[in-house]
């Protein structure tokens, strides 16, 4: 019996705004405990919330980037429950009138885990539908000590975007690809840094299994506490097997909330979901409804960046860059713009791409502060195109360039590396080479064409590698 997994994700993204969602406190990671607080985010008596306009605009921007419908009017609701990390014992969220509805994410090949990129699973360009995106405030952070617990309210009130997918995901790898793609889009939009390890992106999964061909969904479980995108993949892989194990043996599953224990490699029961919590949602009377049609959506639209898949398509089309190369270049927005500057005046943009991908990236540059002017790479590739140096020499120049930051023309001159293309000089050297290798002449004449390399090697050695290989080749063939 073959089983398939049905997976839906609930992703919480911390928006990278300057202030919190409903007060002016700094929205900052780290910081001494309870230093970014005020009456509003502490839930003091008499304090009142005022919405962060930038957070609303960024959420609309996210909705636009993810192909959602932006609601003309939305409101905030109170989600009521008691918990120590909740300053008001209700969370301001959005219930039935969220900011964005629908939408989708398309999974590209290279978003999948590296070792699965050759599988057909990654080819299809699968569309994962979204249900909605809404805006809410984050809760405080609990810390547990030996006999007491403490609460840090720095995080309380951070703007949080909740993105919910339809149950379209069918494998841990698709979930991995979804989160990778989503993260990239969020970074491109300047909406969030989406670093799971810093809690800027949190993901809960809902997963069930059913026999292939069955229409009815199986019982689903919720899994929480994954700290990385690959952790989500591992948790899903485990949970799917666990569920299949039970169901295929004739057992029944309960609706449960489970916790992923990464070191142990297992999910563990947190609580049974028999009674759905009644949150007594009602519209927050302290907050006016928001009309996006009065300028917010227009402003967000102006901020739309060229998205990764759009940039990639453009690189392939306009810069003649290969599919894989384009993928690598657009993975990081800073690298993509560095490349565009580097290739601006280059005759062979593909070569520039290769320099960046194969050599530059190996130096692990911090693209935010890198000093090496991107134009140098373009100049280097032009030197090769124009025959001033050959590609082997280019590698040496590149190495020097990465170390010293000097421009390639200057390096070539300093080191006297100009490619020797002088026919006269090369002819003479070729004659010497032929004269010095009579055996190879015989081999070549008797059909072993590879023997030509012996002469080439001789000429190269004599010119310290600076001979123009194409010209040498031509001369030798004429003479032989």
């Amino acid at each position: 019996m073959q089983y398939e997994a049905i997976i839906g994700l609930e992703v919480h993204v911390q928006l990278k705004t300057q202030s919190k969602m409903f007060c002016g406190c700094r929205n900052e990671y780290g910081g001494a405990t309870n230093t970014h607080t005020c009456p509003v985010c502490l839930g003091l008596p008499g304090a009142l919330p005022v919405p962060n306009a930038e957070a609303i605009e960024r959420t609309v921007l996210t909705g636009l980037m993810l192909n959602c419908h932006i609601a003309e009017i939305c409101k905030f609701d109170r989600k009521n429950y008691f918990y120590p990390d909740m300053p008001k014992n209700y969370q301001i969220s959005q219930y039935d009138m969220p900011l964005c509805e629908g939408g989708y994410v398309i999974l590209g090949k290279y978003a999948f885990p590296k070792e699965t990129q050759k599988d057909p699973i990654s080819d299809a360009g699968k569309k994962i539908q979204l249900t909605r995106i809404h805006l809410e405030e984050d809760v405080a952070k609990s810390q547990h000590f030996e006999t007491t617990s403490g609460i840090d309210f720095n995080r309380a009130g951070t703007p949080l975007m909740e993105i919910v997918t339809e149950a379209d995901i069918r494998s841990p790898e698709e979930a991995f690809a979804f989160l990778t793609t989503l993260k990239q889009i969020l970074i491109y939009g300047g909406v969030s840094d989406a670093d799971m390890e810093k809690g800027q992106l949190r993901c809960d999964v809902n997963v069930s299994v059913r026999p292939v061909g069955q229409e009815k969904f199986g019982t689903k479980c919720e899994v929480k506490n994954m700290n990385s995108i690959s952790g989500v993949r591992r948790a899903l892989a485990y949970e799917i097997q666990r569920q299949i194990g039970i169901v295929s043996a004739g057992g029944t599953l309960r609706q449960e909330t489970r916790r992923w224990d990464d070191p142990a490699g297992q999910t563990q029961l947190m609580r049974i979901k028999e009674d759905a919590h009644d949150y007594r949602y009602f519209p927050d009377p302290d907050l006016l409804p928001v009309r996006t049609t009065e300028g917010i959506t227009d402003a967000a639209r102006k901020r739309l960046p060229e998205l990764p898949h759009q940039k990639k398509a453009r690189f392939v089309r306009d810069h003649g860059v290969g599919d894989y190369q384009a993928e690598v270049l657009v993975a990081d927005g800073l690298l993509a713009s560095y490349f565009e500057k580097a290739a601006a005046k280059a005759k062979n943009k593909g070569a520039v791409a290769n320099f960046l991908i194969n050599d530059f990236l190996a130096t692990e540059p911090d693209l935010a502060v890198v000093q090496l002017p991107p134009e140098h790479f373009g100049e280097l590739s032009n030197l090769v195109e124009e025959g001033k140096i050959n590609s082997r020499q280019a590698k040496d120049v590149l190495a020097h360039m990465l170390e010293s930051g000097e421009n390639p023309a200057a390096i070539v001159e300093k080191k006297g590396m100009a490619q020797v293309s002088d026919l006269g000089a090369l002819e003479a050297l070729c004659d010497q080479a032929i004269a010095a290798n009579p055996k190879s002449v015989e081999d070549y004449k008797s059909g072993k064409t590879a023997a030509i390399n012996a002469f080439k090697g001789f000429v190269m050695k004599a010119t310290k590698g600076q001979a123009n290989p194409a010209v040498v080749d031509e001369i030798l063939r004429k003479k032989l």
């Binding site: 009456p39 502490l42 839930g43 003091l44 008596p45 008499g46 304090a47 009142l48 919330p49 005022v50 919405p51 109170r78 009521n80 008691f82 918990y83 120590p84 300053p87 008001k88 014992n89 209700y90 609460i151 009644d278 007594r280 009602f282 927050d284 009377p285 302290d286 907050l287 006016l288």
Partner: protein
């Protein structure tokens, strides 16, 4: 006339002419408080030293320079207590100023002390204070009304020149009527709620309790205005509310809603109100018959919406971050249960339970949602009535001040005390109560004027005309 029995307007003139000093005013008030507050018990705390100190540095060039004001104990003032007459906030010190307090300070006013109230503003008699019983200065066996009973009593007893109160269902107007002073509930959104401990967010407004309508206008000038810290405060320009007080009322259309003059009305109250109506008619006002057809639903609608909002607003009092924390608690749930059980009084608990119920799954549509719809109808009643008249005139309270304990056994009887005031909050319109007579037992009777949204100018002008042609405002309770 002693300083303590004077008005803001009178004292401002005396201060300007040098006839008196702020220090003398404060001293006279303190002496009066010492003499009568042991009987009236309107004050929870008096700022003796601070008020005298502030009097010394009073800036008379400011609109309220040198004038002491009493504050209801649910409005946050930096460094002062803010108990809301509840044990759950015993000892709590406000770390910030409410916007109205900031405005009072900027206007040069002196904060004289904190007045008693029904716990968390839930009540109509101030009997629900966890600390003390405030007595009606006109008859110490009677209640002063509520929930701003302390503020009304101290103004009526000349223990304060003026006071701030809050009004959610009549809590400024009704005690003003029962104590024989002037009480104004501004239009919802006229005065910022930031710093007012919330009872029902869509109904609460802060307003002045004063001896004259002119004083009410003076305070309204200072309190009004849009607040960026408060999303429901409206960006409507603030006129000088004293400017048009003396404009003639000839031709003013005064609406008399037939539903407010039904069978079984208190005879003495009816007589006083009808006499007032006749007086307006004699001054050339046009008396118009209007209808507010959904009046009978108002109390039910109020007690569903107000308690629902309160159940969420009071969830923050959990013993975790501030306020009373039970010593009998060993885990978070116990901290909540025990602290709240110990800290809240029975009326507060009653309303939290009721509010939780009407929001709960399965009941939300039948109660909360339906109540909000009927609320729209009540709003429409007023809109339609105001097409036929400029002001509406009604009694403020169905009866004069009753004796202590008379209604405490039947909460519903107590709720009916709000019958004339409650729809005003639901519709968000403005309402003014001013003295218009006495019962045969020498208990004050109040006249209510209701104006359209942001129609305070008309309201105050209409009230000022009546007040200045009658002697009620000059009467003083027979306190020794």
């Amino acid at each position: 006339m002693s300083l303590s029995s004077s008005t803001i307007a009178g004292l401002r003139r005396d201060l300007a002419s040098g006839k008196t000093s702020s220090k003398e005013i404060v001293q006279d008030l303190l002496a009066r408080i010492d003499k009568v507050d042991p009987k009236v018990k309107g004050y929870l705390r008096v700022n003796r030293e601070a008020a005298l100190k502030d009097a010394d540095t009073a800036d008379l060039s400011k609109p309220l320079g040198g004038i002491p004001i009493a504050i209801k104990d649910n409005i946050n003032a930096l460094g002062e207590g803010c108990t809301c007459s509840s044990k759950i906030l015993e000892g709590y010190k406000s770390p910030y100023d409410a916007t109205v307090i900031r405005k009072l300070r900027e206007a040069g006013a002196i904060l004289l002390g904190r007045t008693n109230m029904d716990e968390f503003a839930m009540g109509s008699s101030t009997e629900h204070s966890a600390y003390q019983k405030t007595r009606n200065p006109w008859n110490l066996d009677c209640i002063p009304g509520g929930s701003s009973g302390g503020s009304a009593a101290v103004v009526a007893a000349d223990e304060a020149i003026a006071a701030l109160g809050s009004d959610t269902g009549g809590s400024i107007r009704q005690p003003a009527a029962l104590c024989g002073c002037v009480g104004l509930k501004p239009t919802y959104g006229r005065v910022s709620r930031y710093g007012l401990v919330a009872f029902a967010s869509s109904l609460d407004q802060i307003g002045p309790l004063t001896k004259t309508v002119e004083d009410s206008a003076l305070l309204l000038n200072v309190l009004s205005g849009h607040d960026p810290m408060e999303n429901t405060s409206r960006p409507v320009a603030v006129p000088d509310y004293t400017a048009k007080l003396n404009q003639p009322i000839k031709g003013l259309r005064i609406g008399i809603p037939r539903e407010y003059f039904a069978e079984g009305m208190d005879k003495e109250i009816e007589a006083a109100i009808r006499k007032a109506i006749d007086w307006y008619a004699s001054q050339g006002a046009e008396i118009v018959d209007v209808t507010l057809p959904h009046t009978s639903a108002a109390i039910a609608v109020y007690y569903i919406i107000a308690t629902a909002e309160a159940s969420a607003n009071l969830a923050r009092f959990d013993g975790v971050r501030y306020g009373h924390r039970s010593s009998e608690a060993a885990d978070p749930l116990s901290v909540y249960k025990n602290s709240r059980a110990e800290g809240f009084g029975p009326e507060v608990k009653r309303r939290i339970i009721l509010g939780t119920y009407v929001l709960s799954s399965g009941y939300y549509d039948a109660y909360y949602n339906r109540a909000q719809k009927v609320r729209q109808l009540l709003m429409r009643d007023f809109e339609q009535a105001f097409q036929k008249c400029d002001v509406i005139l009604t009694p403020t309270s169905p009866g004069p001040a009753f004796k202590f304990g008379e209604k405490t056994n039947d909460p519903l009887q107590m709720y009916l005390a709000d019958i004339y005031t409650i729809a005003v909050n639901l519709a968000g319109v403005c309402g003014l109560s001013l003295p218009c007579g006495f019962t045969s037992s020498k208990l004050p009777i109040g006249l209510q004027l209701i104006g359209p949204h942001f129609g305070e100018e008309t309201l105050l002008r209409t009230g000022h005309a009546y007040e200045t042609s009658h002697e009620w405002a000059k009467q003083r309770p027979p306190l020794a």
